[in-house]
Every structure is written in C-alpha cells, then in structure tokens.
Symmetry: C2
Subunit: 258 residues, 2 copies
C-alpha cells in the first residue's frame, strides 16, 4: 500500500519566521507523498486590528463575522498559503495551495447557532479525496489552509486540526497514512511543567486512564480525542510534538496508536 | 483536437458585484474546458489606503514594494480568487484557484530595474502547462490570479492580460485555443466616442493599418499587440469586448485572427 504523510503546523510555527523556514526545510526533504495543513497564527488578528475590525472570541475560539471571514481569507488563503507555496517551490517541492473550495476538496456545513453564533465557521462534512489523490499522484504536494466551503458559495473558517484529521481519515482505506501535529510542546506530558516528561506512546486504553487521572485535560483533551478518532479510523499512527523532533529518528514526542 | 477557452476578466468586472455574478453565470455554462484569469480591480488599492500604505503608480502601472505585494497576495490570491472559486463551485463548475507559484504553473523573472524600479513585478518566463492540463483533463477549471513566482521563493505581481496570453499560447500547439478578453468597451472602436463603431474583425494586415491611422493607439496598442502575438503563436482566435456579448451569438465585439 502507498504511504502518505499528513502534517499540520500550528500558529506558533507560522508566526515565527525562523521556525517556519526550519520546518519547511525539513518538510521538503520528506520523500513520501505528503500533505501540509496550516493554521493561521496571529497575523489575522494583527490585520483585524490594523483595519479596526474587532477580534471576537468565545471560549478561545474566533467568532467569524463577514469582515473577519474576509480577513481570514486574505491572510490564510492569500499571504500565508502563497508564501509557504513559493518557499516550497524554491526547494523543488511542487506545492499547490488549496482551500476546501478549490476543486471542492473539502465540504463543510456552517455551524448551527446554539448557545453562541460562531458566524462563518464550518464543520467538515466530506473530504473529496479524488482530486487530492490526482495531485499527489502527479507529485504535487497539496498545502491546505484552514478554510472550507459549503458548496453553496460560502467560504467557511474551519479548524486546521480537524481538516488534517479528516484528510488523513479520507485516505486511510487506500494509503498507509501517518498524521503529524506539530505544536509548541514536546508532546503529551506527564507533568505539564516538565517538557522532559513526554509520554512516548498512547493507545485507546492508556488514553482513558490518562483522562481519568487528569493528565490529559483542558485543551489537550479535544486534541488527543481527535488523534484517537484518527487511529480508530484506520490512520496508522498519529504523532504529536515539536517539528524539529517529529521527523528525525530522535525520541521526544508522543505517538498515538490503536 | 481538443478545445480550450482562456478567458480574462478585468478589474471593472471584479469591482462590480452584479457584473461579476452575471459573468460567472455565463462562464459556468461554457461547456468546453476553460481557464479563467482575473485581474485585481480597486480592492487592493482600497485595502492599501485602509492600511495607510501609499499606492505608487508610474505611467498607470503599480509599483510593487514589499507591503504592496503582501496586499496584492492577500486580495488577489485570497479574497478575490477564493470568492470566485466558491461561487463557481456553487454552480457545479469545479473551479480551483491558482497563482503561478501553485504547481509551479507560471514562472517569471523579476522585472529588471531600468528607468524605474517596479519592485516585485514579474515578466512571464514559462508556463508549465502539464499540471494545468492534468487539472482540465480531470474536469477542473483553473482560476488564475495575477501573481506568479520566480521559483526562488519570491511571489511576483504580474499583468493578468499577459498571463492569459501566455497560458493560451502554451496550449496552442495541442489544443484549439480561443482567448477572450472581457473589458469595459464593446471592442476595438473606429470612433472612441461611439460604442456602436466596433471593428468586428482585425487581422495582422488591418492591425497595421489601424495603428498607422491612429485608430488603435494609447492603451489599446499594447492590448491588441498582445492579441496579434497570440494569433501569431497558433491561438485560433482572440476576442475582445464586453462579457455579456462575447459568449453569445450576438455581434458587437472584436475578433482578432491571423
């Protein structure tokens, strides 16, 4: 079976030029077919402030009104996505940037209004992997930003972790898929204040134990639930940690297996 | 031989929501494989003003410093391109937005500094049509914005008319290519003040006559030279006029032939 690596980088890498350059240098050397998914970082909020558009958050999540969606589309699909694509091209990685609207690759539903109206936020409905597969079969490296659409003409701000998970799951039946989350910590830590306390491997059973012990909690809970979901849907393994360790043979990150 | 239509829309369509919607409605119905190239319109200049970035022009052409390139990348590749793609997707046209960096589809050289430094402006060097052909063979409709790259990591602001011409010429040996420029006039006019004085057909010989008579002059001269260049490089025909006439069987636009 063919191999595919799906790699998600978060805002902390995007926001730091040196980290981003280092990551892209590592990424371009990965020989397997690969897909990059990137978040947005602080640039969108800075742009909103420059344009006097208020940044509205609820429980740490951005509320996306029309003006905010415009900014997100400009920053994520324009500036960040195309800067990454151009850099990868300079190292002979044949990158091609996408939103979920492009090639109808990712359809989403606008999040229903319940307790709160998140605005133009999408929950992924379907990854149409045929076009993505056509690209990777032609040695193209898709680079997704965190925007999808509802197939009715509406772009939707969509969580980048979820996009990475959904893409990985869409390919899991026909590829050996590995999913990597690059973030600011070494991985899942036994002691949140000790970066050396990385838990090297988590499976469905140890996950439940770690949750009941309160070691996986707060923001890590949905993140690792997402990973467990992926391995339960045929994704071969999910790794989470710092980008400078994940793609070497070094230890120092967390692997989630079934 | 297979057919291909390359269609360029200018800023006057982008700037007017009603015109853009009407155009996209017409565009989506074109059954042949098709490629859309769009200019930028006034949105980039408005954004620059909102961000207090001075708009610098020389002889009607934008000077693209780093801050301006950022804005252009955000507005052209982000807001405009993705809005068009999402709208086309809603009418079942499987659009996919691109800069020349994406898939390394269009390489350009940074314009050399002579009398004036245009900054990050690119002159097209090469259209790599293989990836574009892979897309259209898979029923994808490429939507290009007016940005290319130099393959060394630098995005470059590039004239949309030229991009359309270069794409058309790249396909001309293997496809029956028709190239359409949608702009704000009915076509080439015998009397610049009379929209009913459209010259219906121009070939290389009548072009020279019209230039020597001063009927093709000023901004029309480079535009029509571009068209003549295209038909001299195997593009089957080039049409120029208003979008609501070009794709009907109505008369009222100019066709340029060899």
């Amino acid at each position: 079976m063919k191999s595919l690596k799906v790699i998600k980088i978060g805002g902390n890498i995007i926001d730091d030029q040196k980290s981003l350059d280092e990551f892209l240098e590592t990424f371009t050397k990965i020989e397997d077919p690969k897909i990059l998914v990137h978040g947005g970082g602080k640039i969108a909020s800075e742009m909103a402030r420059s344009l006097d558009i208020p940044v509205k958050m609820f429980e740490g999540r951005r509320i996306t009104d029309e003006a905010t969606l415009d900014i997100i589309t400009m920053v994520y699909a324009g500036k960040i996505n195309k800067t990454i694509v151009a850099k990868l091209q300079s190292t002979n990685c044949n990158a091609l940037g996408l939103t979920g609207a492009d090639g109808n690759t990712i359809e989403a539903d606008k999040r229903p209004v319940l307790k709160i109206d998140y605005g133009y936020v999408g929950d992924v409905k379907k990854v149409n992997f045929e076009i993505i597969e056509t690209l990777i079969s032609n040695n193209i490296t898709p680079v997704f930003c965190a925007i999808t659409h509802n197939k009715k003409g509406q772009l939707l701000n969509t969580n980048a972790d979820t996009i990475a998970t959904e893409i990985a799951m869409a390919f899991a039946d026909s590829y050996n898929v590995e999913l990597y989350y690059c973030f600011e910590k070494n991985g899942v830590l036994n002691d949140i204040n000790n970066e050396d306390s990385v838990i090297e491997q988590i499976d469905s059973i140890s996950f439940k134990n770690l949750v009941s012990e309160g070691i996986i909690a707060d923001g890590m809970l949905p993140k690792i639930s997402n990973c467990i979901n992926a391995v339960n849907h045929n994704v071969d393994k999910v790794c989470i940690g710092k980008h400078d360790k994940l793609f070497t043979n070094k230890k120092g990150y967390t692997t989630i297996v079934k």
